[in-house]
Symmetry: C2
Subunit: 538 residues, 2 copies
């Protein structure tokens, strides 16, 4: 090989905001805030405020490589920290405030964060946990002067710090492989694990996710991230949107129908995304108030399978396209997204909708997928054969933060822990989590497939299927149902509903009615359910 | 800084084709060929043929780092070499066959190419120049068996080599900064200069140019590159199109209206691009034959300013959007492209069209622009103040091939040699080449602005404005006009036409009627004109 002779500037996160401030200076970022009115800013202004934030943090002693933590909602201030902290060569640790106290404490101590910035909502939480925080020296409340409260921790005021800081800064040149964002995953077992995104990974992810195979942003889009900024960077939207010159509407923590509709209509939101629960509430709100979703064109839904009725309502009633998406903290997070292709379109609109609504999505440039059997051999791409889902690429994890060993193998393949299929159209479907799949008499039953059928049964609010130890078959499925308020439903009704939709040997051995416990990230906590019902079939 | 913990696979060109073959295996690549019927292939098949090509080249002795040259049109075989040669860690040197003999010889000897692959068209050229080629050991004709001719150089047959080669290959891991593509620029002075694109630069360029701010490709697009693959990789379309799963239609050298229309209609072309001359012929063909351009939606036009009438005809008569573009071999080549923005749209459709048709385009993520005065200070972004256009970024040149010094400064800024303005919308307009600007009494006159007015004068086929030495004013403009056949036009007619469109002191001191000489890349050869008329005003 001979060396190429092009320039080799590092890919740096701050360059995204510099670009937006230069090419799209007057494009707005509109933000709800805790106990403050909606704020309107622009990318030009945000670059200046980001410089102030970096100078203010430097004055608090933050240096390159240091970890700076947040407990914060989707606001413009949190957005600024997404650029200020990596911009100065430090690492932003976005902590999920919905975790258990001990997990939050574990994360802050494990990350060794020196500064913690938090929204006013979390003052009681911060006051409660502060005595256990071993490294946090400075607390900063993300509020305006006059709204701020110092509390027992003597919190500084973010806007006071910014007002005192200069907007003149020489952003350092940062190694593109340096750590930039530190996001912890909270499985249902063990301590949270940190995924340390690099500048390079974040920038490449933003470029890839902006393309038409994924989000397909253009400068006319108005993007409203309704997944949390603390949860794998909200699909990286705070990076992709300014890269494409999109206006940003940030909902803070207000995910109720009325609040979302206000932003959607007033700000002309064209693109949003979040977990299905939010959209169930939003559609109910539209129905009740006889409104329509303004200029909204696309809703990206991840976290769990899209209910079919939701996708149909969005499309047929409101002309909004619902796109499934799959990813994980370890993939920064984009894995696949279900956008149309000519090969699918050739099957006709109904078949294409079916594919797009029932599969997590299609292959994207920059993240490779494999589905392998127990011997590590690729299964056929037939949409039927399932196996362990492996991924690799420049925004896929190599090693957890402070981990002793790589979690990707020598060829870069990372085992996602998901069971999936791939089909001839390059679409991937998650059939289960490896630990949730039900092993019945040597065969596998997909808990997710069963849940997807059961949740469509009238009266069912949440359906959870778990494998329960069985004396003869090793495991058999048990269906746990949380009913809608006032729903009248018994085991026979449910089994009768399931019968035409599933093969007979998948029929649950028991249907129980119970409240379904959720994890801090809103997923069904099957570990708790498995423990609760472990003796049901013995 | 602390190291991030994501994977760091190199960005490699071959991964683009691997992705297309995996995610879009049945998407077609359709190619015209010299003396052969139209050929239909797919990305899955192209990856196999690319492996065969690499194995065949290895059998000829090509090793990583070696240069492999082509004299070839826009065909699937040339496309294969865009992947096979960089894929094996070697460098593809795409030579412009329209250059003068001595330039072609210079390039091949300077690049030290060991293998030359060429289309049948160029056999006489190759035979004529072979005795002067100091390093070429193997000649390969890019034809099918039966069509091939060995000629005086004993050329091997590409398809014979491929048929004998295995499609099994372990693509090597290539350093992403290694040289991949070597493109020579031919200015009007001095020897051609080589620009050595890296894998990293090409992949990032393909990602950026795929975004909606630029080409905005999706999997439903059918892309027909009508600029030459040997000319700065035809805007990188052979890389961006497969990355987005677009079908490719390759016109070989057939750029006449009938041939283009056949591909456009039969293959469903949605996107094409090339120099204005091609589209003048194409629009005339549509007019004469009363046809419409099928599914064509966008035509990207670069190389010189888009004639207003052409843009209006495309839009108003055929619903096709014309987008200007600017770039150079040294920028791989995307610099800016004139796509809509909300800020422009707010001005109304006419004003937006005006902006998009009269400016080269807007800022793109990944390439930074500055316009500076003689003291190196940024001029105001007011659309009026002009200065030297500087660029930098990961697909901008650092140094010419075998050059002794960097041509970008310590901060990465490369002086393009163009004079330009930037406006508040982030749109750049080229007002002149630095060497063509006319210095009259301490003020600058833009030769391009004058030409754009003059070319709209009825009867004018080509208008060229040059600065001619003047005893009092240093230089004064002279307008050289090549008339349409049979046009009746005199100096007074032209001056009368210009008067209402220009400030008085820009009025040319002389209008002469002559044939206008063009360079090998189709640009007006002002060097020749300046020499021819140097004494006109003395």
């Amino acid at each position: 090989m001979i060396p190429g002779l092009m320039q080799t500037p590092p890919l740096q996160i701050i360059d995204i905001l510099k670009f937006a401030a230069t090419a799209h200076p007057s494009v707005e970022i509109v933000s709800r805030l805790v106990d403050e009115p909606i704020l309107r800013s622009t990318y030009a202004n945000e670059l200046k405020r980001t410089a102030r934030a970096a100078n203010a943090l430097a004055a608090l002693g933050v240096k390159a490589g240091d970890r700076v933590a947040t407990l914060a909602w989707n606001t413009h201030r949190h957005f600024e920290l997404f650029y200020a902290v990596p911009g100065m060569g430090a690492v932003l640790n976005t902590v999920n405030p919905r975790l258990f106290d001990e997990q939050i404490v574990f994360i802050l101590n494990h990350a060794e964060a020196g500064v913690l910035l938090f929204d006013k909502t979390f003052l009681p939480l911060v006051e409660r946990l502060a005595p256990q925080m071993q490294t946090v020296k400075h607390f900063v409340m993300l509020s305006a002067e006059g709204v701020c409260a110092a509390g027992k921790v003597g919190a500084l005021c973010y806007e006071t710090l910014l007002a005192a800081a200069s907007d003149d800064i020489g952003w350092p040149v940062v190694d593109e492989n340096a750590g930039a964002m530190l996001c912890y995953t909270s499985g249902t077992t063990g301590d949270p694990k940190g995924v340390l995104y690099s500048h390079r990974g974040v920038v490449l992810h933003a470029m890839a996710s902006s393309m038409n195979s994924a989000f397909g942003f253009d400068a006319f889009d108005v993007v409203m991230p309704c997944s949390s900024l603390f949860h794998a960077s909200a699909w990286g939207l705070p990076f992709a949107a300014p890269m494409c010159g999109c206006k940003l509407a940030l909902p803070c923590e207000k995910m109720d129908g009325a609040s979302l509709q206000e932003l959607i209509v007033n700000e002309g939101v064209t693109f949003t995304g979040g977990v299905p629960t939010i959209w169930t509430m939003y559609l109910a709100y539209l129905e009740q108030t006889h409104q329509t979703p303004g200029k909204l064109k696309r809703v990206v839904i991840g976290g769990s399978a899209v209910p079919r009725a939701m996708a149909e309502t969005f499309k047929k009633k409101y002309g909004v396209q619902v796109l499934q998406i799959w990813g994980m903290t370890e993939t920064a997070p984009l894995g696949v997204i279900a956008t149309p292709t000519p090969a699918l379109a050739a099957l006709g609109e109904e078949a294409m909708d079916e594919a797009i609504w029932t599969r997590q999505g299609r292959l994207q440039f920059g993240i490779e997928l494999r589905v392998v059997d127990d011997d590590g051999r690729d299964v056929p791409w037939d949409g039927e054969s399932s196996g362990a889902l492996l991924v690799r690429g420049p925004w896929t994890i190599r090693r957890y933060y402070r981990g002793a060993n790589d979690v990707a193998d020598a060829d870069g393949w990372f085992d996602t822990g998901d069971i999936a299929t791939l089909d001839q159209y390059g679409f991937m479907r998650i059939t289960d989590r490896k630990k949730d799949v039900i092993k019945s008499g040597g065969e596998w039953i997909s808990s997710i497939d069963l849940e997807n059928v059961a949740v469509a049964c009238p009266g069912v609010k949440i359906a959870a299927v778990i494998g329960v130890p069985h004396p003869k078959w090793e495991e058999r499925p048990v269906l746990v149902i949380e009913k809608h308020d006032g729903a009248d439903l018994c085991e026979q009704d449910v089994l009768a509903y399931l019968a035409p939709h599933i093969v007979k040997w998948w029929t649950p051995d028991a249907v129980v009615f119970d409240t379904v416990p959720l994890t801090a990230t809103g997923k069904i906590d099957k570990k708790v359910l498995r423990e609760r019902y472990k003796a049901l079939l013995s």
